[in-house]
Amino acid sequence: MRAFMAIVRRELSAYFATPIAYVFIVIFVALAGVFTFQVGNFFARGVADLAPFFLYLPWLLLVLAPAVAMRLWAEERNSGTIELLLTLPLTTTTAVVAKWLAGWLFLGVGLMATFGLWITVNWLGSPDNGVIALGYLAGWATGGVLLAAGAAMSAITRNQVIAYVLAAAVCFILMSMGTPLVQEVLGGALPAPVAEALLAISVPSHYAAVAQGVVTLADVVYWLSMTAFWLFINVLVVEWKKAA
């Protein structure tokens, strides 16, 4: 546990040791503002809630989560510090989960930076703050899934740019499988049970309802199992690289 916390602390402080983290957060918050107020027609709707923000949040996370994930393993492999990390007396799983947790906490900080939007809608009217809180949690959980997938991709390469592209590609697949457009295409090309299964493991199908205030056990199980699945893939990749 001590080793686990040591890695979480080190990783988290590594994010803030360079200006890149702040740049990501600023871009994320700026995009959140643009999508909420401009693209989401916040003022034309005349409703003081964050529905437009939560509509676009998973797509914003599609940009942010790979950016947070890309350095987790690629940087260690590139600088050689991975030799230090993997010869410490801890399991690969400990390192994988600790790194993910640090990235997830950083994503949480990014989400918190958008609290200005929450304050704004409360100032303009009286939104259902329970729904908003649930929306944030759904966004954070979704970010956790995308981050875990991105971290697994980061373990494949020593190049952070390649890590970002791979992570964004996998996250895009996880996202787009749940969109009506892709579902329509898949529905025509694949047997119905397969298309339904793909929909079930897509990110939006478990995000949309929760962001509107309805959370089911199935969604929670989905987030937990999907995150665990990608962390497991991450462990496999790290172990596979030892044998390669």
Binding site: A3, A17, T18, E83, L84, A243
Partner: protein, 251 residues
């Protein structure tokens, strides 16, 4: 003497390239083994296998009698490792880095503080204690790498080219430290700087193209020169590791 580190018929290939081809060696407590070989002979790969960073295709690695691949966490508890080039987290301070390494090894409180201070003192790091690692000179970086390798007083210490690129004064500091650590540990030092072998190592293993071509004391090996030549470690090294003679020496 019981061996604290034992490699048995370790093999490792990368695609078609056989990097380590059946290397066996053992090091006992109180012993410093010089691991020599030309560049690309498989020294670093052997060391990466010994510390559990690379999985061998075949063979066995034991640290204090613990099988590295059956019980890796336990085996690594007894291990200190300085990777080639001493990679470090540049954004951390020396203090922060050693604190991380200690905590990741399960140390805490006054025990951790004592281990950090002791390691810093032995590697002469106290003057750069609060400095960012990214701003340090090569010599200091190497010493930070050494400090993390020795801070938990490991039974087995594996140092990959610890003096490479250091000036003569810095080399002496590192050699003294290795001799001092050797009292309680089993140490492997890889190097291609032959001049430091007699000063530091009790025993020498020379490898070429992934195979052991000679093993013994520095004196024994220095005598293995072509007929009529003066005994010298450098001459013997060249004689044993050049392509023509490597096959014959191994056989």
């Amino acid at each position: 003497m019981d061996a604290l580190l034992r490699l048995e018929d370790v093999r490792k290939s990368f695609g078609p390239i056989m990097a380590v081809d059946g290397i066996s060696l053992s090091v006992a407590r109180g012993e410093v083994l010089g691991f020599l070989g030309p560049n690309g002979a498989g020294k670093s790969t052997t060391m990466k296998v010994a510390v559990g960073f690379l999985r061998p295709d075949g063979g066995r690695v034991e640290i204090c009698g613990i099988d590295m691949w059956a019980r890796p966490v336990e085996a690594k508890r007894h291990l200190g490792y300085l990777p080639e080039g001493a990679p470090l987290y540049d954004e951390m301070t020396v203090r922060g880095f050693l604190k991380f390494c200690g905590a990741a090894r399960g140390m805490s409180g006054s025990g951790l503080k004592r281990a950090m201070e002791e390691a810093a003192e032995r590697t002469r790091l106290t003057s750069v204690w609060g400095q960012g690692i990214g701003t340090l000179s090569k010599g200091f970086r190497r010493r930070v790498g050494l400090a993390q390798a020795i801070m938990h007083r490991p039974d087995v210490l594996i140092l990959d080219e610890p003096t490479d690129g250091l000036d003569p004064n810095q080399k002496q500091v590192v050699r003294d430290l290795i001799r001092e650590m050797a009292k309680d540990s089993a140490i492997i030092v890889s190097t291609h700087i032959l001049e430091e072998v007699p000063a530091v190592c009790d025993r020498v293993v020379i490898i070429a193209r992934g195979r052991v071509v000679a093993a013994g004391t520095a004196e024994d090996i220095a005598a293995r020169v072509p007929d009529g030549a003066e005994p010298s470690l450098e001459m013997a090294f060249r004689h044993l590791t050049t392509r023509e003679s490597a096959g014959r020496a191994a056989a």
